[in-house]
């Protein structure tokens, strides 16, 4: 029997189970897109029948980092840009957990860019949600890696001289096996995509467009949007890396011009996730390592057995 009984129990779930019983006062501004992520995540978790106690939600720092405070599950509110390495190790320690990492565009694409690239490359079985509002919010409106070229802020008073980053293309080329973009203004699609992303066996990256009514003054920043799966103009095979890359390139360029395209871009199902790969090569045991510590019958090897090489 598992030492972690909350994991994998089939049950009917109401999405209110993911609302803390005594709800902390949300510190997000009125009209913030982050509410949309929270709602979509609750809906997706309920639809999947997850137990709040089998989920580990790891967040970074910033407005987005507070997601773990408002979503009822095991949570870890970590440090700026570091949610992914923390989440990766938790998944390796106990692959039966549902592991979700979340952070903002500064957090994930800026300070955590290195971790983002390598987590995608390793194809860990987890979902990574990036709240992309093209701005640093909690530190009051500085230019972020996804801010448009020419964006003026207190730290870039002459306007940013940099092209914004292409997060979808980045994760595809780094090796993510599921890549999608959705938006808080599109709640139905957002929930569907999160359901798919959490179910996906591998690293699923969801670039989640979230409007920032306070620092990106136009609260309707991502409206109107076009769902590429609902639009005949955008017909491509999401299992084909090259077609996905083209679609991503077009999507990202379009966003720079103010046209919002969302949807699923890439899905690769014939690739083992990282922990499965490690198990297959013998670098990791099949059963969760964490369970060993709760198993009174587990046989613990000792270093004394290694001493022959030293005699």
């Amino acid at each position: 029997m598992s030492a972690f009984n909350a994991i994998g129990q089939e049950r009917e779930v109401d999405q209110n189970e993911f609302t803390p019983e005594i709800e902390p006062q949300a510190t997000w501004c009125p009209g913030c897109g982050d509410f949309g992520v929270l709602k979509a995540l609750k809906g997706a978790a309920a639809e999947l029948g997850l137990d709040p106690e089998e989920i580990l939600l790891v967040t970074g720092i910033g407005c987005s980092g507070k997601l773990s405070s408002y979503f009822e599950s095991y949570g870890f509110h970590s440090i700026h840009g570091r949610s992914l390495p923390l989440a990766r190790a938790a998944k390796l320690a106990n692959p039966e957990l549902t592991v979700i990492a979340a952070g903002g565009d500064g957090d994930g694409y800026g300070i955590g860019g290195n971790h983002f690239m390598h987590s995608a490359r390793e194809n860990h079985d987890m979902t990574y949600i990036v709240f992309n509002n093209e701005i640093f919010g909690l530190t009051k409106g500085q230019t972020s890696p996804t801010s448009p070229k020419g964006h003026k802020s207190k730290t870039q008073p002459q306007g940013s001289a940099k092209d914004p980053l292409r997060p979808l293309s980045m994760s595809l080329s780094a090796g993510a096996s599921y890549v999608a973009r959705t938006a808080a203004v599109n709640p139905n699609q957002a929930k569907e995509i999160l359901v798919e992303a959490i179910q996906h066996d591998g690293f699923s990256h969801v670039d989640f467009l979230t409007q920032c009514p306070t620092w990106n003054k136009d609260a309707r920043q991502y409206v109107p949007y076009i769902d590429i799966q609902q639009n005949e103009e955008y017909d491509f095979d999401i299992t084909d890396r090259r077609e996905a890359a083209d679609a991503m390139y077009e999507t990202e360029s379009a966003l720079w011009d103010g046209k919002v395209l969302t949807g699923r871009y890439f899905k690769q199902e014939d690739r083992r996730s990282y922990h499965e790969e490690k198990i297959a090569t013998g670098a990791m045991p099949e059963d969760p390592i964490a369970e060993q510590y709760f198993d009174d019958d587990h046989e613990w090897k000792r270093s004394y057995d290694l001493l022959d090489a030293h005699r």
Binding site: A3, N5, L56, Y74, L86, L97, I289, Y304, R311
Partner: protein
């Protein structure tokens, strides 16, 4: 100087097989019943450069390098005789004979490879010096012997054969080791090289008076380095996760753990950087696995941020800091003890961590185990601080020392049954960070456990983990985290001390050190006592929480105390003065920071110069580069 000992130095360039040859030689001497200790000196490069390993063998427990050495096996520069490599590195690159002569004792033996070293390559004053120092010189064409029976690379084996002949060592130990470590045909060729060299040298006239002392271990001995001991301590304590990024000398622990963990049911991860490495350790520990990470100076600097996160979220982890000479990337392969303050105070806010600095191979094992017990028992990061010296040095240890049962207990962690009984908030949320535990430790739950839901946050937080800036909660949480340190100190005080006293308790003078210099200081104190000085030593291993009672007792008991450490800013002395300021006037410092660890004679000399010759005041003696360093 100890007369009855062999200190064998094998010298050449990196890539010449100096390490593997010296390890086998050391093991052979151990099997022959001797007590052994090695000292490694190598440059930060893959091939070439000046490399040597000293193997000291005695008939009594050996815990330090010696002063100089009495047998040089100079392999010569293998590269300079290969036209391609000569063009690349230059002929002058490695001078294993010239570079090592300063530290060779009077009456010492030199075997050099005359196949690689013509007379014209010898230093101009070589004959003169050899005569003045009564050196016994044996030029031998090791390369030719190696080539004749096998391949050129086997000249190391020829050198060992020559050594055995000069010291009258039984070849069977070397023979055994070669058989164990080599494929059949390689072994056969090597065996021929070994015996041929042995016979050629045995036929020469010998008139030196260096003898290998006799000894017979009554118990089963093993040859281990400090890094071996740390890895084995971690495995025995149930550590099943390691994440790291390669950096000298931390790499030694990291590779050992990576090799063993899969067999032990664990997992090792080489990741993108040290920030990730320490953060992975936090993630694995949070999910219920005993986890470690580590690095050396510059890499540990990157871990400053996750270290603070582990402290604030009370996630147990063990970090290893294998110090090397700084500043910045400093001297990557040279030892120094300049990272103490870095390890004690790095990261924002008030330090809330435990730091051990083991003084020898055995302590590296026991204190790594203790680090895991404290980390998981108290939900606090524990750091094992050691350095390049202890990392790579080999010494023989009684195998029975490691015959210990593993203790994989996760520490203050609840089962689901216990969680049912545990305190919960009115909202149903588990109170992971309760204010009231007397020893400061609120037991934790593990994700996936029913009834244990909580939020771990690097922000200040309420008992159930919600972010909070409430002043009363803040003070209660800070005080609780601080309470742990008092209880850890009590636990450490109540068991076998980690501070190692050497010499009579009532001695007038003291010598104090921390970490890897312990053995050298002890040998120096033995010699000082033989010379009539009334002195004792204390090797300190508990850095944080500070062992106030034990150090007070020691410093009260002596008139004056010499503090020995390998850095320029007196970091250990500074720590003692911060904690126990009133003893400041009793202490003088002896510092060395040229990239080489102390030799015992340097400490003897430093003690006499600063403590007993009447010139004592708040003195700092700095060692200038000495011959052979």
């Amino acid at each position: 100087m100890t007369a009855n000992e062999l200190v064998w130095r094998i010298a050449g360039g990196s890539g010449d097989g100096i390490d593997s040859t010296s390890q086998n030689f050391t093991k052979a001497l151990m099997r022959a019943g001797l007590h052994v200790f090695t000292h490694r000196h190598y440059p930060s490069r893959i091939r070439g450069g000046h490399t040597y390993v000293e193997v000291r063998a005695r008939d009594e427990p050996t815990k330090s390098r010696g002063d100089g050495y009495n047998f040089l096996l100079s392999l010569g520069d293998s590269f300079a005789r290969n036209p391609k490599e000569e063009a690349y590195y230059g002929k002058e690159e490695v001078k294993p004979l010239t570079e090592n002569l300063d530290d060779l004792r009077e009456g010492g033996i030199i075997v050099y490879d005359s196949g690689l070293l013509d007379d014209e390559d010898l230093p101009d004053d070589f004959d003169e010096r050899a005569e003045a120092n009564d050196w016994h010189v044996y030029p031998l064409d090791l390369r030719a012997i190696a080539k004749e029976h096998g391949r050129e690379v086997m000249r190391n084996t020829a050198g060992v054969g020559a050594t055995a002949a000069l010291l009258d060592l039984d070849l069977s130990y070397f023979d055994e080791l070669m058989q164990e470590g080599m494929p059949e045909e390689v072994y056969e060729a090597n065996y021929e090289v070994l015996t041929d060299a042995y016979e050629q040298v045995a036929a020469m006239d010998h008139d030196h008076d260096i003898v290998v002392p006799e000894n017979d271990h009554e118990s089963d001995q093993v040859l281990l380095s400090g890094s071996n001991a740390i890895a084995y301590g971690a495995l025995d304590e149930g550590c099943r996760f390691i994440a790291g990024y390669p950096m000298t000398p931390w790499t030694e622990v990291f590779t050992l753990m990576s090799q063993h963990l899969p067999d032990f049911g664990g997992v090792a991860e080489q990741v993108e950087d040290e920030i990730a490495a320490a953060t992975l350790a936090i993630g694995a520990s949070h999910a219920g696995v005993k986890a470690m990470s580590g690095s050396s100076g510059g890499g540990f600097a990157l871990m400053s941020e996750p270290l603070g996160l582990a402290e604030m979220t009370e996630t147990p982890i063990v970090l290893v800091e294998a110090a090397r000479a700084g500043l910045s990337t400093g001297m990557p392969t040279k030892p120094e003890q300049g990272d103490l303050e870095h390890v004690l105070y790095t990261s924002q806010g008030d330090s809330n961590r435990v730091v051990f600095a083991p003084g020898n191979v055995q302590e590296a094992y026991t204190q790594t185990r203790k680090a895991f017990q404290i980390a998981y028992g108290y939900h606090i990061p524990a750091i094992v601080l050691y350095d390049q010296k202890l990392s790579g040095e080999l010494r023989n240890v009684d195998a029975a020392f490691f015959d210990e049962e593993p203790t994989p207990d996760l520490g203050a962690t609840l089962t689901e049954e216990e969680l049912e009984e545990a305190a919960h908030h009115a909202s149903g949320k588990f109170q992971r960070f309760r204010h009231d535990p007397e020893n400061g430790v609120s037991p934790r739950s593990i994700p996936g456990q029913r009834g244990g839901r909580f939020l771990a946050s690097g922000n200040e937080h309420t008992p159930e983990g919600h972010i909070s800036e409430d002043p009363e909660n803040r003070v209660a949480q800070m005080d609780r985290r601080l309470r742990k340190m008092e209880h850890i100190r009590e636990e450490l005080d109540s068991e076998t001390s980690h501070q190692t006293l050497h010499g009579p308790e009532d001695a007038t003078y003291g010598v104090m050190t921390y970490g890897s210099q312990q053995g050298t200081v002890e040998e120096a104190v033995d010699r000082l006592r033989d010379a009539g000085h009334d002195v004792k030593a204390l090797g300190v291993s508990d850095m944080m929480p500070f062992p106030e009672a034990e150090l007070t007792e020691f410093l009260e008991s002596v008139d004056r105390c010499l503090v020995v450490e390998m850095n320029t800013s007196e970091q250990f002395r500074g720590l003692v003065q911060k904690e126990l300021g009133r003893f400041g006037p009793k202490m003088a410092s002896l510092l060395k920071y040229n990239g080489n660890p102390f030799e015992p004679a340097e400490i003897v000399e430093g003690f006499e110069a600063t403590i007993t010759d009447g010139s004592f005041e708040r003195t700092t003696a700095r060692f200038q580069p000495a011959a052979g360093d």
